[in-house]
Structures are given as C-alpha cells and as structure tokens.
Amino acid sequence: MALKTGEIAKQKGQERHRALGLSDDAALKLYEVMRLARAIDERMWLINRQGRAPFVISCQGQEAAQVGSAAALAPERDWVVPYYRDAGVVLWFGMTARDQMLSFFARREDPSSGGRQMPGHYGSRRRHIVTTGSPVGAQTLHAAGVALAAKMRHEDTVVATYFGEGSSSEGDVHEAMNFAGVHKLAVLFVCENNGYAISVPQSHQMAIKDLADRAAGYGFPGVVVDGNDVLAVYEVSREAVARARRGEGPTLIEAKTYRFTAHSSDDDDRRYREAEEVALWRQKDPIQRYARYLRDARVLSDSVEQEITDRLTQQVDEATEYAEQAPDPSPDDLGKFVYAEGQG
C-alpha cells in the first residue's frame, strides 16, 4: 500500500519550511510562482470572456501540486514533461508571463509552438520542457525515454512527468511506469488527482481510492500527498528526487487536489459538479492556505504581499500588452517545420 504523505508536512507550527531546508526567501519564491500562475490564468479568463482570445485551460487550484513538485528539481539539469494544466511547473522552469500570453494569443513568437498549438501545450528545449501534445498519457513514455538516455550517459538527471488521474487509465501510463520500474529510471510520476476527468468522477475512472497504490505493481513506491499543501508536496517530491538520484528508481506521487474552474473555457462544469463541492474546495485554496502559513511563520507581511501583488500585476499587464500586439505567423509559416533540416 502507498505511503500517505511525509512526516515534516504533518508537523504543525511555523517551522515546516525551514525543516525542509527552505530559506524564507525560497519559501516566498514558491508563493510568488504559485500566485503568478494564478494571476496569468485569471487574466486569461477575463480576456477570453471579452472575446479577445478563443480558449483557456486552467491551473487554478492545482498550483501547490505543480510548484511544490517542480521546486524539488534542478531546472538546469533535470527535465519536466508536463500536461496542459501545469502552468506552475513551466513557470518554475523559467517560462514567463509573456511566454504564456504569447501562446494564449497564438502569436508567432510563442516559444512553445509558434502559435500552432492551443494554450497549455508547453515545450521548450532550452528550458528542459518536453513539447506536449493533446493526447493524454502519451507524455509519460517520453519522460521514461528522457531518463533512459540520461542513464545511458550516466548523467545525474531526474525527469518529472505530470498527468491527471483520468489519464492514468490510458495504456501508455501503465507501459511507462512498468518500463521505468524495470530500468530503475529517475522518473517522478506526478498525478494531479483533481477528482474529475472533464465530467467523469474518479469512481467511474478506477475502482481504487488511491492511484498511488498502483506503484506496488511496478516495483516502486507510491505516495499520496495533500496536493493543496505546497510544503507537503515539496517534501515528498524532494524525497523522490533524492531516491532517483541515488539510482533507486521512480516514485509515483499522487497529489490530491481540485480544479477550481470548468475543464476549459469550452466546458460548463455545472452539468456535473455541485456548486457546494466547488465552494468547499475553494476554501482549501492552496495559495490562501500557504499565505496563512507564511504569515504565521512571519515570512509574509502585508508590505511583502503588496510588493508581490504589484510585481505580478505589472508582469501580467506588460505580458498581455506585448503579446496582444505581437505579430501573427504569416500564411507561409504553414509549411514550415513539418520536417527538420540538416543533421539534427
């Protein structure tokens, strides 16, 4: 059976981040990236509702699971293979509000796809973010491959791949975990379990309560963690990364969380979720929760909070302005990059 979350996370009190080896500044950085992800997302909905952009898909509610796990990695040598909700992951790996807005408006400069893919389909070779398409689950095999290559070259590289609990039903996720187990690959399988796959509840998706229990069938540990507690996610991720670096193989981390918005701007979640349920989870907002912790820990003051808010507002304003003005691709870009040239 899977472990249920870490030890330090269970502690009460104001010392948790320090016990995890996080300085106050480091603890604040987690907070700011979570807030940045949220701020960009909220702005996108606003713009979408004004009809200035056709599509949004959200990270809201899942920022702790994303940032807490990504923060356990070393972006300069590690890789992430995210899915469409992982704004928090890619921002931690160096993407900017501007990058986000460029893809939101599908501009030529969009670093992920040059305006070819929907927002949320991240990718950047230099930032160690593998390009992601829409078919869910497929990316987990790519993560295993990236880790296999690193192992062949004896490089100290850990790969984190992300997916929803619904996507865990795809055969590829099984094949990826099995292969990673056989070769003891340095992979973190991070499941952001938000209880729904669009409208389909977990009860129709699997007959088990904890997806983490599947890890035993692949010969590596599975951990269930409170996905709305960024420090708890950081702790279990840090342990999993250490294990991977020791050559002991993969870990499946199941972060229990919730999606605040509809599945996307094309969805109406009132058809399948009770307003009460959503309201209940909004009270567990990972950002507010972490803010309370940081205030109790005397790390976050009103003035610091204000500075952060101002900084984020400015970033998002500038990014939006820049991206909305930025040039579109030209029609003759249509035929570019179907094939790579040269030796590649």
Binding site: A106, S134, V200, D266
Partner: protein
C-alpha cells in the same frame, strides 16, 4: 419534415435507436451527465440510465475493445471517441481486431458496432481537435466509413450504421454540427451506406466532396452558375464502400472533375477517386481530374491565419474550379 441541425439529427437518431432496440447502448468519455463535449448525447443518460449510456474511463482502446466484446455477446454498441484526433490509441482495436473479426473467423463472428467521432477543422481546435481520418480508415478492409454532411444524411446514415452487421466508423464534421440546418424526414429515413448523392445537378464540371467541403462546393457551384458554368456536386456521404458508379457517372457526364477534401493531400481520398476515374473513365475525361486538399502539413495550427491557410476555402475552390472549366 422537421428542420434540424446536424447535431440535433444525430442525437435524435441515437435516441430513436436506443428506444427501438434494447441491445443498443452508448459508451464513451463524458457521454453521461455531460451529454458529450458537443452535447450529442445530451439527456440520453437521464432517459435510458447509466447502464445504456456509459461514461467510460479515459482510454480509447478500452472503449473500442469493450464495444467489440459487447457486440460479440449480442449488443449493438455505439462507441463515441471524443475527437477523431484521439482515435489513435484505439487504432489496434479498430484495425487489427474489429475490422478483421469476421474475416479471421471465416464469418463465424461479426460485429454490429458503430464508432462515432467528430472530425474536421475550422473551429480553432488546433492540431488535436481538427484532424481528418477518413483516408486512414477507409484503406482498411472490413471497416465501413461514412461522413454525412447534412442533417437528413446524418440521421439516416447513423441508423443504417447502427443496424449494419459490420463495424462502421461514423464521422461527424464538427463544424457542421450547429452551422448546417436542414429538413429531416419523419420516421426512420434510413440512408443506405454505400450510396453517394448528387446534391446539385450540372453539366460542365463535377465537384466531389463530403462533410463541410460539400457545403463549400455547393457555394462554389452557385457562384459558377453566375459565370454561366453549370457545376454538378456529388456528395460521397459514404467513403467506404465508395460509390464507384456515381463517381464514374458524373465523371462521364461532365468530363471534368475536381475532388475536394480537408485531409492531407498525399494518399487522401481524392487520390483514390482519381485512380478510379483513371481506370474506368479515362477516355471520358476532357481534362485531368484535379484535387484541392489540405496541404501535407499536420492539421492544423491554432492561429487563425494559419488555420485559414490550411482549410480549402470557397474562394480557393472556386479558383481551381474556374481553371478546370477553362481547361
């Protein structure tokens, strides 16, 4: 006769088949409470229950593989793949299993099952919500592939598909769902699989299409008429088995043919239509058969300028048709 959109006609068709035959059931992602992401199954779970409108786990191979097993054991499943772009994980179950069940068992087994899926572009769906898959599956013996373009054909062909003893891939062009309205006959109004239809008669040249492109071609024919060019528009409706006679008839009648589809050009359905005409109506041709297709780049970018550049447009089809008329 009632006026319906394409999506309404499809929903009505499923509703009536569920009503008529207790062995019919629906399985797919979000087909239940959500009513499908395009609301094709809206209200059907309420009406027929969770047993007959099943929200599957998120796994396309599962959806098709389970439908196969259910069809073996006396049911007539309607499997929904949420977008044609996501049918790929089910490719093995469709091509190597469903399509070969009857043949490999010497006719002992057959699979009355339908796989419904929304296809095609023009909805800002980007690279994974815009693809065309008809050529890929029409190449496979043992499968039938239909692609209606009007509400009446959609409902009539859906009923034919549900009642067919073979696996039928039922392609619904998502851009037509709410865009295209039309009269739907009362009663079953079954439309036979394998029969194309001349949607507009003409004498100078032939436009052959299906799905959204049918409607572009009808518009083009209208504009050509203004130039005094009489264009015939043949709606294939069924891609496999293709209606060779109807294709040859229009080719022989006008001697000039333009085939139009969104799907990538190389190895698309247009190539097969050209081959058929080459083989059987070569001497009747007054000009080489032409094709206007999506380019050989992945369908299709999110950016609206690139999406527009990908899709065959009325203007570009018209230009090619004029070339052909002038040949």
């Amino acid at each position: 006769m009632a006026v319906r959109t394409v999506i309404e006609a499809i929903r009505e068709g499923m509703d009536e088949e569920l009503e008529r035959d207790p062995s019919v059931f629906i399985i797919g992602e979000d087909v239940g409470k959500r009513g499908g992401v395009f609301l094709a199954t809206d209200g059907l779970q309420k009406k027929y229950g969770e047993q007959r409108v099943i929200d599957s786990p998120l796994a396309e191979s599962l959806i098709v593989g389970v439908a196969i097993g259910a069809a073996v054991n006396g049911m007539r499943p309607i499997a929904e793949i949420q977008f044609a772009d996501f049918i790929a994980p089910a490719y093995n179950q469709i091509v190597e299993e469903a399509a070969r069940f009857c043949y490999r068992s010497g006719g002992d087994f057959n699979l009355p099952m339908v796989i419904r899926t929304p296809w095609g572009g023009g909805v800002h769906g980007a690279m994974y919500h815009s693809q065309s898959i008809e050529a890929t599956f029409a190449h496979i013996p043992g499968l039938k592939v239909v692609a209606p373009g009007t509400p009446a054909d959609a409902k009539g062909l859906l009923k034919a598909a549900v009642r067919d003893p073979n696996p039928v891939l039922f392609l619904e062009h998502k851009r037509t769902y709410r865009l295209v309205r039309g009269e739907v006959p009362a009663g079953d109004g079954v439309v036979p699989i394998g029969k194309a239809e001349v949607k507009r008669a003409g004498t100078d040249l032939s436009l052959i299409a299906y799905g959204l492109m049918l409607h572009h071609c009808l518009e083009v024919a209208e504009k050509l008429a203004a130039d005094g060019v009489s264009a015939e528009v043949l709606d294939l409706r069924t891609i496999k088995p293709i209606d060779e006679e109807a294709i040859l008839q229009t080719a022989r009648k006008t001697g000039k043919v333009l085939v139009v589809h969104e799907d990538n050009r190389f190895g698309g359905i247009a190539a097969e239509v050209m081959a058929i005409i080459m083989e059987r109506a070569f001497d009747a041709l007054d000009a080489p058969v032409m094709r206007m297709c999506g380019p050989d780049s992945p369908a299709m970018p999110f950016n609206q300028i690139l999406e527009a550049a990908f899709m065959p447009s009325v203007d570009r089809i018209l230009a090619r048709a004029r070339e052909l008329a002038a040949y």
